[in-house]
Symmetry: C2
Subunit: 297 residues, 2 copies
């Protein structure tokens, strides 16, 4: 099953004509997970013809304005649209305090049920996937996030057909249990195969350190900030951001399959290939995110 | 001198693909006045290639989210861009409290100088124009605003040339004072004419009552909300909004020259002519606002 990811906003702190503030949407079965919610995110939903009421969880990387100022307006729209569920919000330490501040200014507080958790490590799990937060280093407390699909035991349908196995007993094979079928012992491992789950990691904003590699490890897709180039490595250190080269180094060392760079600066508005080329020298399978771009993993 | 007005956002509470939240920009000589600042307004500046650092004053009609949620992000961008002046913010009662709440969450507070005034009646004046707030009626405290250019005494240049009047003495005529030129008495009124100043009024959100007519009186341009049509007059009353017909009635009775309807609902996204036609039946010189539209008065 393909996992669609939509880039709702891809700019750095100041938006440009083409790039809105940071927000990425991941859909998986019944879950619609929003990672960060910069100003104007609810309007980006309209532009890709998605209903913000479908959101199930919001993952906040950190509480700098360009990553969260779309929350109050989104809350208002969800309240006005009679959002029927409890909205789950996860973030680094401090998230509860900030959500409380927003609530104080919020006119429809009674109308929207919100549950807030400050997270570190694995923080959500169901039958199909789990979510993991990795603390990163920036001016504010910041989390990187990984969506990790669980490995699945799949049936080899050709073999099933050949052996004419039918009925409820198939579910035992799917659990990895050996069965007896028409007097014959059938080993689960002979009739099933393991489908590796996918891993998607989101890394912004941070300096380069060991947790970046740890979070990104073996990801099918790494979505990373790329606020600076190596020419500005000094600035990157000062403002605690990654350069394009560093993002690519993470991808390479962590054996990532594909890298998408986002959180792109207005300084490169007319010359973004500099960023792309710097990363590609280190990690070839890199592309730049664009607003409203959709990829499937 | 033409006064340019740019519609940065024209939607009602929930934005649509084509319409962002409310914000209108009026430029006049050295002044750049923003009326309301809905979420995403700073990005709309980018789209019309205007620099938000040019803003001199912000007029807030009321503190509902769709009119103000662009303020925190705008403040952040002004701070990051080293906005050099004091930013003047005006609004109805409660404005100081709300600005304080925003400031608490704001990371660059020390970097941006803001002066906030809660206003009613005339609240700013210079040689060329003044600004007036008229209390309206909505769920929250709300102000309508008028920009009123002062009448100017203009010189009839043909007559000046004929009489060969030159030098500093001309400024006396401009003040409306009679002069003596080469022994001859010259009356100011014979050599000058009065150029009527322009009036532009902004009315949203409100129920229809006497102050609407008062604020709009003799405006060259009335920009009014039009959240409902007469079919939904019941809802309009309940939510304290104007219908298209009521906006047109204000324009007609107040002898307005031109009416622009804004704050348009997603419910009419594919059928906006209903709104326009309803208004035009009462007041012919009406148009609908569009995002990024520029008009000159």
């Amino acid at each position: 099953m393909k996992i669609p990811i939509t880039f709702l906003g891809t700019s750095q702190a100041i938006p440009t004509e083409k790039r809105n503030h940071t927000a990425v949407l991941l859909k998986y079965r019944d879950e619609t997970i929003l990672i960060d919610c910069g100003e104007g995110t609810q309007r980006q939903f309209r532009k890709v013809h998605l209903n913000p009421c479908k959101i199930t969880r919001i993952l906040i990387t950190h509480w700098h304005g360009d990553h969260v100022l779309g929350l109050p307006g989104l809350f208002q729209t969800l309240a006005l649209s009679n959002y029927p569920k409890t909205l789950h919000i996860y973030g680094p330490r401090g998230t509860k305090r900030f959500i409380n501040e927003i609530y104080k200014m919020f006119l429809f507080a009674g109308k929207l049920k919100i549950e807030v958790k400050e997270v570190n490590g694995k923080f959500f799990e169901n039958n199909d996937f789990y979510l993991e937060a990795t603390p990163l280093k920036h001016g504010a407390g910041v989390n990187g996030y990984s969506f990790i699909e669980k490995d699945k035991i799949r049936l080899d349908k050709n073999k099933l057909r050949k052996l004419k196995i039918k009925g409820k007993i198939i579910s035992d094979l799917q659990k990895g249990e050996d069965i007896v079928w028409q007097g014959r012992k059938i080993k689960a491992k002979d009739i099933t195969y393991l489908q590796k789950g996918k891993k998607i990691t989101f890394l912004w904003d941070t300096v380069l350190f060991e947790n970046c590699y740890k979070a990104a490890k073996n990801s099918d897709l790494l979505i990373s900030e790329s606020n600076f180039t190596e020419k500005e490595a000094e600035l990157a250190r000062e403002y605690k951001h990654l350069t394009a080269k560093q993002a690519a180094q993470i991808a390479k060392k962590s054996k990532v399959k594909k890298l998408i760079l986002t959180h792109l600066s207005q300084r490169y508005e007319n010359n973004e290939n500099i960023i792309l080329n710097e990363a590609k020298k280190v990690f070839k399978n890199t592309i730049l995110a664009e607003d409203l771009m959709k990829v499937e993993v």
